[in-house]
């Protein structure tokens, strides 16, 4: 048991690091939390440049075959690359959904000419993809979606609304799950397409969040016409295709926990700097216990990630423990940020970066934490998933399983 690279891994790490040093700048010191250093437009431009560069070097998708622009490498090599890249000041993230979910779906269900047309530009960062599944009435229950696609000759006419679409406003294409038959049970009447996001029949509106940000969009379709050749999988097989997409929505296996907001280290730092009624917060036993409780969860997640990486390193499938990340980290963030604000006493309400300790990291993350408990699967859905997929417990009773979709209760 150790934390060392195998000789091959070490060699790969050296190679990657050399390339990164030649092509990017290392990150500076403490950069603060949650604060965009560039405008989105700037970041997007820089990200596209960086993506082109790393794709050219074979680092964009290390596990993809060489024929499609990958490197034919191993999952652990991808992890090593990610770890090393994280030390450099490069903008990423814009391509994760496209390359992580959409293009793999296209690779499974698309025609050869689709692959030829779309894979390379996506890999090079020239075209960005988004994923259009969730709807206002279909959140946790994605298969309850209502966006209609109706056949009209060799085309489909699409009307409806998607929601919670990350990156819709800067995406060029999207994969879109639609209902093509409301007369069969809900999972059976779905069909998948890919669409041009720049079509004037597609309208994107940002969703303003509690914390003032707008990480997601609503997307409206009004008589959007899509060729039948843009269909992915058979008519009515959309759910099966979507499961392929979601299967690729793996937990990122990266450099370990944290990074998303203040954690036990920041709580320690805050406690050292803060006076309570009875003296410095760091001498207060309750504060100390909270630091320890937070540490244990954070480190537990970090070492769980190491276990997953070990499986990858040994060429094995990661175990089910990889599924616990967000159900631990999201409530932990909500807890630790609220606690940090409590330590600041009445001034805990101040959210200006210059008004509160640690550039108001606790306050800013506190306002985001409720979103983290929901986005990408609510706490409740994640527990269901662990119970069902990891522990093998039965699914919830599905009253709508055998009903034609149009007859399923909806409350409207």
């Amino acid at each position: 048991m150790d934390f060392n690279d195998s000789p091959e891994e070490a060699a790969f790490r050296t190679e990657v690091r050399a390339w990164l040093e030649a092509n990017a700048s290392p990150k500076g010191e403490a950069t603060g939390f949650n604060r965009a250093r560039w405008s989105e437009a700037d970041a997007l431009k820089r990200a596209k440049e960086w993506q082109a560069k790393r794709a050219a070097a074979g680092y964009a998708k290390i596990t993809w075959p060489k024929e499609v622009g990958g490197r034919g490498g191993t999952p652990i090599q991808q992890v090593i690359y990610n770890q090393e890249e994280a030390k450099f000041d490069v903008p990423t993230g814009f391509f994760d959904i496209g390359l992580g979910m959409c293009i793999p779906t296209l690779m499974t269900y698309g025609k050869p000419e689709d692959l030829k047309r779309y894979v390379k530009p996506a890999l090079l960062g020239q075209e960005i993809w988004c994923q259009l599944f969730s709807e206002p009435a279909a959140g946790s229950d994605v298969a309850g979606l209502r966006t209609r696609a109706e056949k009209d000759g060799d085309e489909w006419v699409i009307n409806g609304q998607k929601v919670w679409t990350s990156g819709a406003h800067y995406s060029d294409f999207g994969i879109l799950l639609t209902r093509t038959d409301p007369n069969v049970p809900k999972h059976k009447g779905l069909t998948m397409f890919y669409i041009d996001m720049k079509d004037p029949a597609v309208v994107v509106k940002p969703i303003k969040q509690i914390n003032g940000g707008a990480n997601f969009n609503e997307v409206y379709f009004t008589d959007l016409r899509v060729k039948d050749s843009q269909r992915l999988g058979a008519v009515g097989d959309g759910w099966k295709v979507a499961l392929t997409t979601l299967m690729h929505e793996r937990l990122a296996v990266g450099g370990g926990g944290g990074g998303n907001g203040p954690d036990y280290k920041e709580l320690l730092e805050l406690a050292r700097a803060t006076e309570l009624e009875d003296g410095p917060a760091i001498r207060n036993a309750s504060v100390r216990e909270k630091i320890a409780d937070t540490y244990v969860r954070t480190q537990g997640l970090k070492y769980t990630t190491y276990r997953t990486m070990t499986a990858l390193s040994r060429g094995q499938q990661p175990g089910p423990e990889a599924s616990i990340g967000k159900v631990v980290s999201a409530p932990k963030l909500q807890d630790v940020t609220g606690y940090g604000m409590d330590l600041q006493d009445q001034a805990g309400v101040l959210i200006g970066a210059s008004d509160a300790p640690l550039e108001a990291a606790f306050q800013q993350a506190y306002m985001w934490a409720p979103g983290l408990r929901i986005a990408g699967g609510t706490d409740e859905i994640l527990r269901n998933i662990i119970a069902e997929r990891v522990l093998g417990l039965p699914g919830d009773i599905r009253v709508d399983k055998d009903l034609p979709f149009k007859d399923a209760p909806t409350g409207r």
């Binding site: 206002p136 279909a138 959140g139 946790s140 229950d141 309850g144 929601v163 919670w164 809900k186 969703i207 303003k208 969040q209 509690i210 003032g212 700097a273 803060t274 006076e275 309570l276 009624e277 009875d278 917060a281 909500q334 609220g338 604000m341 409590d342 330590l343 600041q344 006493d345 009445q346 001034a347 805990g348 309400v349 101040l350 959210i351 200006g352 008004d355 509160a356 300790p357 306050q363 506190y366 306002m367 409720p370 979103g371 408990r373 929901i374 986005a375 609510t378 706490d379 409740e380 527990r383 919830d396 599905r398 009253v399 709508d400 009903l403 399923a408 209760p409 909806t410 409350g411 409207r412």
Partner: protein, 374 residues
Amino acid sequence: MNFDFSDDQKELREQAQRFLRDRCTPKAVRNILEGGDTYDRTLWKGVVEMGWTATVIPEEFGGLGLGYLELCVIAEELGRVVAPIPFASSVYLATEAILLAGSAEQKAKYLPKLASGELVGTFAMAEGAGAATPRTVRTTLKSGKLDGTKVPVADGNVADFAIVLARTSDDGERSLTLAIVDLKGPGVTRKAVTTIDPTRDQAEIAFAGAPAEALGGAGDGWSLTRQIQDRAAVLVAFEQVGGASACLEMAKDYALNRYAFGRQIASFQAIKHKLADMYVNNEIARSNAYYGAWALSTGSAELPEAAAGARVSATQAYDYASKENIQTHGGMGFTWELDCQLYFRRARTDGLSLGPARAWKERLVQQLERKNAA
């Protein structure tokens, strides 16, 4: 056993609910949230006209001379609608401070105008992150002049005057003194500060030789502050209970009307048990608040214990209810568009305004130690 509000008080509640349903809609709260003003002036005017600012002020000072139970009833209803007005600062804190410690002249000067809404007061204690105590307060009161900076001061940009906790010596628990200062007078610079809850104004107030007079005896500041906070804690607890109840109602309505997997989401145990926990917390908080109301209204020696219990319990309940209300709403709950955020913000502001639950637990145990002297 008569541990509930009277029929008259329940009628007052209904009256307050009717009034606020019209005058303090979510839309009106949003107007303040989105920067329409520092507070809702129309609502404030209405509240003054209803006599709520005058509730416990004696008739000789232009008040209604009612009891604290009536004020508790009003507080719960204001909390239920997240009223964006300086009521807590002016009525629970400034008015109480003057009632408690004011000289005859000070009472005569301030109380009638507080009752009539002509003056808005606030209480300035914090000086940035951490607890304001006899060890940490740096603002000084010397020869009738205040120097130092207080931040955050709730409703500090709105208030006409502030009661300021200031240092007058280095005599331990007796180092501090309360001072009344005119916020429109010389030597006072105010600026708005950004907070998690824009529906409540918060200011940074710098004093540079601002003329001020003592409220209560020199060296009594810390003891008076705690007494004032005990009173305010009970009243804010009712606001918190009102807010927490509104969260439960919102979450329940949404869960009953939202369908997933062909069922009301209210039929899933994860949601049912969440709402049951909310209900339980809220009832525990309400019962503790009632005890605080009893202690406050009867001038009981148990007020410090009762106030601390009420505050801890109400803060826990509102915190849980406001977070899990968002969670019950799912993605929609996190949008700007829905009203969950109003309660999420206010729960935190209320929970920090008089100091966090953590500090009140300590105050509570001090009382228990005193009572059960070993």
